[in-house]
């Protein structure tokens, strides 16, 4: 236990990085995934196919291989993303490592976000949209008043699963030189091999707290938007 308590600031910093990776790539993959989902359910069939190809490809690729592409293959092509190091946000410089890890996580997670969104839209019964059109609602009215409110409710549980998986997947960044929770846990264990079980439990609890916070907040959101039927 001493190993964690005497380096508690490092422990917090590690989970700070984990949460940072989660928040940035979570928001980015929600945006990209929504765009993909719009293409996927939209009326243009070639874009449907392109989006579904993207989803198939990225869902079946291990996250680690996407990291290999971004961290090992892209620099050979001249994309090392060093430009982001010139950007300064609130006094902190963005590191190229952080940017690349977020890019890899976003590319991977957005495929799952797209599928969750699509399942949400598909969960709305066809009769709802037809009834909306029948009483003369325009496209945007039937979208905002009938379909999206119902789809949002259906989307929350699968989206929570995707976000929890993302929070756990940030650990892969450990293999590529980011000092987030898993890498820090490995470092701690390396230095204090006799306390390895305690160290593992401490880091596991950290992750469990992150996961529980996500599922609790999704529960609260869900309770807020739930309707009696």
């Amino acid at each position: 236990m001493d190993a964690v308590f005497s380096n508690f600031d490092e422990y917090l910093k590690a989970f700070g990085l984990t949460i940072g990776l989660f928040v940035v790539s979570g928001i980015a993959s929600l945006v990209l995934g929504t765009i993909l989902a719009v293409l996927r359910v939209g009326p243009v069939s070639i874009l449907n196919k392109a989006a579904s190809l993207y989803v198939t490809l990225f869902r079946n690729t291990p996250l680690l291989m996407i990291f290999v592409f971004i961290f090992i293959a892209m620099p050979v092509l001249g994309y090392n993303f060093k430009v982001v190091e010139n950007i300064e946000i609130a006094g902190y410089n963005v590191s190229a490592f952080f940017f690349r890890a977020c890019l890899a996580l976003t590319l991977y997670t957005s495929a799952f976000v797209c599928e969750a969104m699509r399942s949400g839209v598909n969960a709305v019964p066809l009769g709802q949209a037809e009834a909306g059109r029948a009483i003369g609602l325009t496209f945007s009215q039937s979208m905002t008043l009938v379909i999206l409110p119902q789809a949002t409710r259906a989307v929350i549980p699968p989206m929570t699963s995707v976000m929890i998986a993302l929070a756990k997947n940030t650990s892969v960044a450990a293999a590529f030189g980011l000092a987030e929770a898993t890498a820090t846990m490995r470092g701690f264990t390396n230095d204090n091999a006799d306390e390895r079980i305690g160290i593992f439990l401490f880091f596991a609890i950290g992750y469990i707290v992150v996961v529980e916070v996500i599922s609790l907040s999704s529960y609260l959101v869900e309770r807020k938007v739930r309707v009696a039927r």
Partner: protein, 286 residues
């Protein structure tokens, strides 16, 4: 045509507009692919020497035997053990005895919430490093067993609960014991419902074997490094290795679809919540 919730069947004006959209998006997509190929060409990544190892029999054998075969072995062992683990804990979670149910719940929830990589690092330091009793191959298998087993426990529980109530009631009515009801009435029917979910979990297990890279385990990701260090062909290696993973996963997904059609028919795929016993009432029923 009007199978979509979102749109009415398009009229002639809309069809014409969609045609324009199609042309524009084809141009954009072709431009993107062309740019990607040009970028590879410009960086000299399409040179024959860089791709040569992947048409050389010795290297093909190295990739397939030391890479793919090891990966498949790890996935195979972990899924077999995970099914056993999941069966035990899934049934234990349904037990009538609190002292069986709660520890099983704790174990399952713990291993589902902890990242696989953290588990791998821990088992590696606990059992393999120095002169530990196991190789990193088995550390990957243990970590994947614990994680996938916990997910499968939830699948088994949901599958058993998906068997119509009347089945268990009828079995009790003709005087069967609890264990008899489970083994000869509920489980045989539940397995049929769960098989597709188990196969898709195999895809997850196969993808996660790649994480063994971090603890120096063998497998496809491990064979990539010596190849690109020797030939300096990072991009072709990454493309080929990813291609193998995608191909194997697509085969597994295809099998899962066939099994789904054969055994479950058109009924809904088993829905397993990611965390906790789905606190929301009607959300999963949607």
């Amino acid at each position: 045509m009007s199978s979509s919730v979102l749109f009415d069947a398009p009229g002639p004006k809309t069809v014409a507009r969609h045609r324009i959209y199609t042309v524009v998006s084809v141009v954009v997509l072709v431009a993107m692919v062309a740019y990607a190929i040009w970028a590879l060409y410009d960086a000299g990544q399409l040179e024959y020497e860089l791709w040569e190892p992947f048409v050389t029999p010795d290297y093909i054998e190295y990739i397939l035997v030391d890479g793919l075969l090891q990966t498949l072995k790890m996935a195979f062992f972990s899924i077999i053990f995970a099914v056993v683990f999941g069966l035990v804990f899934g049934v234990a979670k349904l037990s009538d005895h609190g002292w069986v149910r709660w520890p099983a719940w704790l174990v399952v929830e713990f291993f589902r919430a902890v990242p696989v990589l953290l588990l791998m690092v821990f088992t590696f330091f606990l059992l393999a490093i120095g002169n530990g009793p196991l190789t990193s191959f088995w550390c990957v298998v243990i970590a994947l067993t614990l994680y996938n087993g916990s997910v499968l426990a939830e699948v088994f529980r949901a599958g058993i609960n998906a068997v119509p109530r009347g089945q268990a009631e009828a079995a009790y009515a003709i005087g069967m014991r609890k264990s008899q009801v489970m083994t000869s009435v509920l489980l045989p029917q539940a397995v049929k419902i769960m098989l597709p979910a188990i196969i898709s979990q195999m895809v997850v297990a196969l993808k996660d074997t790649s994480l063994g890279y971090y603890i120096l385990a063998p497998g496809l990701t491990a064979v990539a490094k010596p190849i690109y260090l020797e030939f300096g062909n990072q991009v072709p290696t990454a493309i080929v290795i990813t291609g193998i993973y995608v191909a194997v996963n697509l085969v597994l997904t295809w099998i899962a679809t066939i099994v789904q059609k054969r055994l479950v028919g058109e009924k809904k795929v088993l829905d397993v919540p990611m965390v906790g016993p789905a606190p929301s009432g009607n959300a999963t029923a949607l």
